[in-house]
């Protein structure tokens, strides 16, 4: 084979990592240019261009299969999810950011690179590296408002993160020791017959559960959500979580675990406990960020349920729907929280009633109600798909844990209404009149963006094919 052909081959193979290369290049350019020109608008434009170009690279037609010495795996489904995460990253631009924007957007791009690699990883080494990349960026972003509280949360996050990554490393070592392979694609069910490899698998899952925020690896979540800057939280609550879930899905698929395997059962039980812990933890919270953080822990549990449906019935569409809507709901919620905080209104136990914020309050209510899952909002359709999926897999497999999962999810939905309702209660129903002097109304821009989010949620309910067609749209653009 001629050298040029070989080079061509490598370049072709590198195309499979085109998205990540683009994002990294963009990040470096951003950092370098940021030294000379740090006007926010310029930085934001550069960031947006990088992501848009990244999405473009991502959507280029690539055959599904293994690339770069089988270090990467790629298929159509993953491409959609990577695009979704990148779109989520793009939405972060809607948040006003007035300081350290160069470093911030650099970190966001690095985070997205890590997430993207997590989705594609086929080699255990890459699994570990990408998770660590995401983790380290997350630690820094947590403390990125340079306040004491933020540092505390970041250190807490770091400590838990180090511990879980050590556990995961042991898991990887155990798996490698017993299976003698680094690649997910080489795994088979028989390779995992020894208890050592199964324990290794469980430990590997623990590392992922930490990213997803599943009980008992969720403890970092409330502090992080409370202390980190809003735009960082909006992304952190979405991207690492979905990336972790999809990687977990691939790991479980690769070792061909059946639903009644003890590792899956442990995961299912953890899912149920997560839903309950998230929901009942949120009830006691007064701070709105902590409340949403516990709510998002519960959502992790729901999403885990979708992931664990047996391989034959894994509901790609349902999972796609839930994740797409979850991205929008969470970013919208933190966007609105950010607007309130910028007015000096900390949505903690002491809320304000304000005639002037009726509009934003109403939109916030819609977003939160969508997080509960009540029609006519897209969150309901997500819950409906989740319940249907669980019921279906119970019907097929007859496993009691699935039914328990279904009922915990239903009860958690009711209970979650109770805490999400605290917000409209305090904005609209509290007898305390708004008394802060000099309160200016929210800017038209913020109202407009928030309303747009709410309209998307409504529209997605009434025309659910729009969300599904987003896949088709992405599909068609690269043809």
């Amino acid at each position: 084979m001629k050298l040029s052909d070989q080079l061509q081959g490598i370049i072709n193979e590198l195309g499979a990592a085109g998205t990540e290369t683009t994002l990294m290049l963009g990040a470096i350019i951003l950092l370098v240019f940021g030294l000379f020109q740090s006007k926010p608008i310029f930085i934001k434009l550069l960031f947006a261009a990088t992501i848009v170009f990244g999405i473009y690279m991502n959507l280029r037609p690539v055959e599904s299969g293994f690339y770069i010495s089988t270090a990467l795996y790629l298929d159509e489904q993953l491409v959609y999810f990577i695009s979704l995460l990148l779109l989520g990253g793009l939405l972060i631009l809607l948040f006003p950011r007035d300081q350290h924007s160069v470093e911030f957007y650099f970190l966001v791009l690095s985070l997205l690179v890590g997430c993207s690699f997590m989705l594609k990883a086929n080699s255990l080494l890459l699994v570990y590296l990408s998770i660590e990349l995401v983790s380290f960026v997350s630690y820094i972003l947590t403390g990125f408002n340079f306040r004491k509280q933020g540092f505390e949360a970041a250190i807490k996050y770091l400590l838990f993160g180090t511990l879980s990554s050590a556990v995961m490393l042991i898991g990887l070592a155990l798996i490698y020791g017993t299976t003698n392979t680094f690649f997910l694609s080489d795994w088979t069910f028989t390779l995992f017959s020894s208890i050592g490899s199964q324990v290794g698998l469980l430990f590997l899952c623990f590392g992922l559960l930490f990213k997803i925020a599943i009980f008992p690896f969720h403890v970092w979540t409330p502090a992080t959500y409370q202390a980190a800057p809003s735009d960082a939280v909006a992304l952190l609550s979405v991207a690492p979580k979905l990336a972790g879930l999809l990687l977990l899905r691939r790991v479980l698929l690769a070792c061909e675990l059946t639903l009644d395997h003890w590792v899956t059962e442990v995961l299912l039980v953890l899912g149920v406990v997560t839903i309950l812990v998230g929901t009942f933890g949120a009830i006691g919270q007064n701070n709105v960020r902590r409340m949403i953080s516990f709510g998002s822990i519960a959502h992790s549990g729901f999403l885990l349920g979708l992931i664990l449906a047996p391989s034959g019935h894994f509901d790609k569409e349902a999972f796609w729907w839930y994740s797409a809507i979850y991205v929008i709901m969470n970013i919208a919620a933190f966007f609105i929280v950010d607007q309130y905080e910028r007015k000096g209104i900390l949505l903690s136990s002491d809320y304000f009633q304000s005639q002037k914020s009726v509009w934003l309050g109403a939109v916030f209510t819609l977003v939160l109600v969508s997080l509960v899952g009540i029609p006519p909002l897209a969150g309901f359709t997500a819950k409906l798909f989740l319940f249907s999926s669980l019921w279906r897999s119970y019907q097929v497999d007859g496993q009691v844990l699935q039914a328990v999962f279904l009922f915990s999810a239903v009860f958690a939905t009711v209970a979650s209404l109770f805490f999400y309702l605290k917000v409209p209660k305090n904005i609209f129903l509290s007898p305390k009149a708004f008394s802060q002097n000099g309160f200016a109304d929210f800017s038209l821009r913020s109202k407009f963006i928030a309303t747009l989010f709410a309209i998307i949620l409504l529209l997605a309910f009434f025309v659910p094919s729009s969300v599904m067609n987003l896949q088709m749209l992405l599909h068609n653009t690269h043809e």
Binding site: F314, D315, P376, L384, S389, R392, A403, L406, V414
Partner: protein, 527 residues
């Protein structure tokens, strides 16, 4: 004509969004627009009644409905569920057509009653119109998903209507209302998913209520009556039946899940109480008819004792509670609990008299309870107080008012020649002739009627007769007889209550064929 139902359903919704475009400053415009909208809805529903062919004898549920509109709405393909198909499928039969007419009347009167609303008028009428649409939607939906959508969509407007415009403990009451109802409706959601997975129409899984009632189950469906499916060791059909029962019993409400109702009523402003008692409770009753009995006819006999027990419990416990109240509105609220017990008892009897009586009682209570809340509102508007002890001998000062109050109280306790009597009589006839119920259910229900007579007459005697007295002299100048607006609200209700008490066939004729088919439907699956 074909789209008449869609107009009745969607017109208020469209106007609600149009209201948002009117600047908030034009306060008096909102009520006029709302009045015209719901007036138009009322006229359309009269047209609906006139055009309704009550002689149509259906052979299957699919053919039982009139004014049917069936359009595909959502069509998705999902890996696990197959095709996810939701239709905009609406229509009315002899049961729902009456409830649609009742809704538009009560909603119209509700607007009249909110005429003096002063605060945040725009938001109020916006939410009120949303509520109007979803109430009607519940009665006409023939697609379970559409029904569930409307059923849930009532909650959010109601939450705000009670929570923002309510009394002192409004936030407690509105959150309690929301939580209770959502708790119940999630049970309904689970059953909806179970049914959807098991019922097909033309080879595709469907949410169609008609197909579910006709029993087009897949052979291996868990809910197929012939397949004896189990869920966690419990027969799946029984479990689904009980889930639905809990869901609708909370909405109805039946003792012991009624506790949200007195709180919600006491805190809600008068017009919202009117809609809540007149219509929202009927949605629960309608759900029992259409969904619980319609889809699970084979289990009705098995669980009729349970239904009757909770029915009678509601009648007696609600009545005793009403007897103990000092707040007029709370008394009326508990009387509603007591009356809805009759709906349960009538259904439980599984006789045509009982079931027709149950429906009749819903319609009649849909007229009486709004009237009762309106008359309580009359006192409250004048004095901002509704404690019974604060008033006495109002008859001398407000004779017309007292006459109407007495009329509605008598209707409430079921005095002959008034509509309340017919419903209760038929339910009791059903209960006594029932093959599945023990006689003591009927006997206890009669005891409940005596209790209701006691609290109504006692209240009448304490508040309206005797020596004239009001607690605060400041109220004195306000104690005037009914204003023309109040008369416009109350007179039509009074006339209808009397007319339906004398000519029950005016209502029964509409539903005869449907009830007959309903009975056939129940007895087919019983044998």
């Amino acid at each position: 004509m074909q789209n008449l139902l869609s107009w009745i359903f969607l017109f208020p919704l469209a106007v609600a969004f149009a209201l948002l475009l009117i600047p908030s400053a034009k306060k008096s415009l909102f009520r006029v627009v709302a009045l015209i909208t719901l007036g138009a809805q009322f006229i359309l529903s009269i047209v609906l009644l006139i055009g309704f062919d009550s002689s149509l004898a259906p052979s299957s549920w699919k053919s039982a409905f009139q004014y049917v509109v069936k359009v595909d709405w959502i069509n998705l393909s999902l890996a696990s569920v197959g095709n996810f198909k939701i239709q905009y499928y609406i229509g009315v039969d002899g049961i729902s057509v009456l409830l649609v007419a009742l809704s538009s009347l009560v909603l119209f009167i509700g607007v009249l009653s909110s005429w003096n609303m002063k605060e945040k008028v725009k938001g109020y009428f916006f939410l009120y119109l949303l509520l109007s649409s979803s109430v009607v939607g519940c009665f006409i939906a023939l697609d379970f998903f559409l029904f569930y959508l409307c059923f849930e969509f009532m909650l959010l407007p109601m939450f705000f209507l009670i929570g923002i415009w309510g009394g002192k403990r409004r936030s407690y009451a509105s959150i309690k209302f929301f939580l209770y109802t959502l708790f119940g409706s999630l049970f309904i959601l689970v059953v909806m998913i179970m049914l959807y997975m098991g019922v097909q129409e033309e080879g595709i899984n469907t949410f169609s209520l008609a197909a579910m009632m006709d029993g087009n189950y897949l052979t291996d469906a868990v809910l197929n009556p012939e397949s004896d499916g189990y869920f966690l060791g419990v027969p799946a059909r029984s479990l689904a039946f009980l889930f639905l029962l809990v869901g609708f019993a909370i909405k109805l409400p039946a003792v012991p899940v009624h506790t949200w109702l007195p709180d919600a009523h006491v805190e809600a402003p008068t017009p919202i109480s009117v809609v809540l008692a007149g219509l929202l409770l009927k949605v629960g009753g309608y759900g029992l008819f259409r969904i619980l009995y319609g889809i699970f006819p084979d289990l009705t006999a098995k669980y009729s004792g349970l239904l009757a027990f909770f029915g009678v419990l509601s009648i007696i416990y609600g009545g005793l509670n009403a007897l103990a109240q000092r707040d007029l509105k709370r008394m009326v609220a508990y009387s509603s609990v007591s009356h809805m017990g009759f709906v349960l008892l009538g259904l439980a009897s599984i006789t045509s008299a009982g079931i027709a009586g149950s429906l009749y009682h819903m319609i009649s209570h849909g007229l009486i309870s709004p009237a009762l809340f309106l008359v309580v509102g009359v006192i409250y508007d004048r004095t901002h107080n509704r404690t019974m002890d604060c008033f006495s001998g109002l008859a001398g000062k407000m004779p017309v008012y007292t006459f109407l109050v007495a009329l509605f109280f008598f209707a409430g306790m079921g005095l002959p020649t008034l509509s309340g009597f017919i419903g209760e009589l038929m339910v009791l006839m059903g209960a006594f002739t029932s093959k599945v119920l023990a006689k003591w259910y009927g006997i206890l229900a009669i005891l409940g009627m005596i209790i209701s007579a006691a609290y109504f007459i006692w209240t009448l005697q304490r508040v309206f007769f005797g020596k004239y007295f009001v607690r605060e002299s400041a109220w004195e100048p306000h104690m005037k007889d009914l204003s023309p607006r109040e008369l416009i609200m109350l007179i039509p209700l009074a006339v209808l209550v009397v007319l339906f008490g004398i000519f029950p066939t005016w209502i029964l004729d509409f539903s005869n064929e449907t009830i007959e088919f309903f009975m056939k439907h129940l007895s087919n699956s019983l044998s």
